[in-house]
């Protein structure tokens, strides 16, 4: 216990970023991620870093663009409406192949909505809320400890692939406190010979996302797609929890996955063979393991804090093999453990009858 400190999720993002060598943060205030800028405004100066509150989310993401172009590890964060405003900038980052970490501490939408937890920005994060064919690397932590791991991983992957990485969490995760251990991690810092640092002793570097000749633009897109394939090949992440003997597989991520874990415990106590497939990387979608996992179960049960978004990717992997059912809550509401365990029981009863 001695290395453990009690920390809010949002603060953990900040401390994790600092330990990952990030020295630049640009953001605009929004609930429910306020503890992050508060933390960094206090701690960045202590490590010689820059905390700058931008005039807007649009300015913030473009400051991130500049800092990334200049070769820095850079972080920004916001919540749903603010992330919508960043979509042009994110598309630019992806196209210019600039690394940056973007946290979306989601709240309930659409519109101004409310500040309670939601997962309704899945499509935006994963399919690309901005224009054009691009992908963010998207990670979805389920605990404060995992927030730390994901922020660090986000920086490392982002630098490795020269691609924006998004940490997708929700206000509950951002504001809850849990004991965490910062361990001893060394960031995988990369050389950035392409960065805009002043051209002393070399040719000038130009960082841009315009390729006016469509043949060049297509070539650029093909290059991006090849990179995405590589990421898809190498970076799928998931947790298979109590799935060994499971007949029912719950699929969920983030906060919602934790509720499901509690529900699965309840069901297991009743002898129901149910397990969890928890997405850790939302993009790349962990399709390889999910594909195999689907083969072994009788039914898939997707739980989201949305009207049903991630379920589409599950269905694409399933491709008609197994029945998929869904439960979603919206608008900042979360299902209770009982709610989920009851539904699992119902599925179990149905399956058993079918079988029996």
């Amino acid at each position: 216990m001695s290395n453990k400190v009690l920390m809010k999720g949002n603060e953990a993002i900040g401390e994790a970023a600092i330990t990952a060598g990030c020295r630049h943060f640009f953001g605009y205030p929004i609930t429910p991620q306020s503890e992050l800028p508060a933390y960094l405004s206090k701690h960045m100066p202590k490590v010689g870093g820059v905390f700058l509150q931008a005039e807007s989310e649009v300015a913030a993401i473009n400051m991130v663009y500049g800092a990334a172009a200049a070769g820095a590890r850079v972080l920004t964060s916001s919540s749903s409406p603010g992330i919508s405003l960043k979509q042009e900038g994110i598309s630019y980052l992806a196209s210019s192949e600039l690394p940056a970490v973007i946290c979306n501490v989601m709240r309930a939408g659409p519109g101004l909505g409310t500040i309670q937890p939601a997962q309704a920005d899945y499509f935006q994060a994963v399919k690309g809320g901005g224009h054009g064919d691009y992908h963010n690397i998207v990670l979805a932590p389920e605990s404060v400890q995992e927030i730390i791991d994901h922020v660090r991983l986000g920086f490392d992957l982002s630098d490795k692939y020269l691609n924006p990485a998004m940490i997708l969490l929700d206000g509950a995760l951002g504001q809850m406190m849990e004991p965490v251990d910062f361990g001893d991690y060394k960031p995988e810092l990369q050389e950035k010979p392409w960065a805009a640092t002043g051209c002393k002793g070399r040719k000038m570097n130009a960082i841009t996302s315009i390729h006016i000749d469509p043949r060049d633009m297509e070539a650029h897109n093909i290059k991006l797609q090849e990179k995405y394939s590589k990421i898809r090949e190498s970076e799928q992440k998931c947790e298979e929890w109590m799935l060994e003997d499971a007949e029912i597989m719950v699929v969920a991520y983030g906060l919602c996955a934790r509720i499901c874990k509690s529900a699965i415990r309840v069901c297991r106590e009743k002898g129901i063979k149910v397990g969890l497939f928890r997405l850790i990387s939302l993009w790349p979608f962990p399709e390889k393991k999910l594909d195999k996992a689907i083969d072994k179960v009788k039914e898939v049960f997707v739980v989201e804090l949305s009207a049903g978004q991630m379920i589409e990717d599950v269905k694409l992997v399933d491709n008609g093999r197994k029945p998929i059912t869904f439960h979603g809550r919206m608008g900042g509401m979360t299902p209770s453990v009982e709610d989920i365990s009851d539904r699992i029981e119902l599925i179990h009863d149905r399956i058993t009858q079918k079988v029996g």
Partner: protein
Amino acid sequence: MHEDLIIAGFGGQGVMSMGQMLAYAGLTEGKNVLWMPAYGPETRGGFANCTVIVSDMEIGSPIVSHPRSIIVMNLPSLDRFEDSVKPGGTLVVNTTLASRKVRRKDIDVILVPATEVATELGDLRAANMVALGAFLECKPMISFKAVKKTLQKVFANKKSVIPLNEKALERGAEIAREQRKARSAV
């Protein structure tokens, strides 16, 4: 051991810090702990509540619809949470600000005039400690010792307020003890 608790009241009543203190204390006792806040629309004066979970196991869902214990510091919180207490659980009510009768019969109810007691002790803001004392007396999810140690840490820069807070804790515990005794005497 797995305990969960919701503490609810107005913003400004110290329900959040009370919960954090419990979580800290739990951590020092080597438990898995989790603290989670929830706010209303108003910056100040709106509703505010937090969930605290202290457990020997890995903590799953941070969202607890039916916790074993609830502390309500005012009337709207009582209205909102009375039905949520798990049957057999504990409900601590700050009767100064939630004076109505509690309907539930299947739970353990502790009535503490926390705000009144705190005002008597000299600072209305210590009402949370009175309620906490009462709660811990009934449901020792954390030892008084650990909570007091945490108090020392939390108020390291403001040592002067520690005695008041300790007194408040103790008064709360006392009231709960008396109440239980009275009840068991009935």
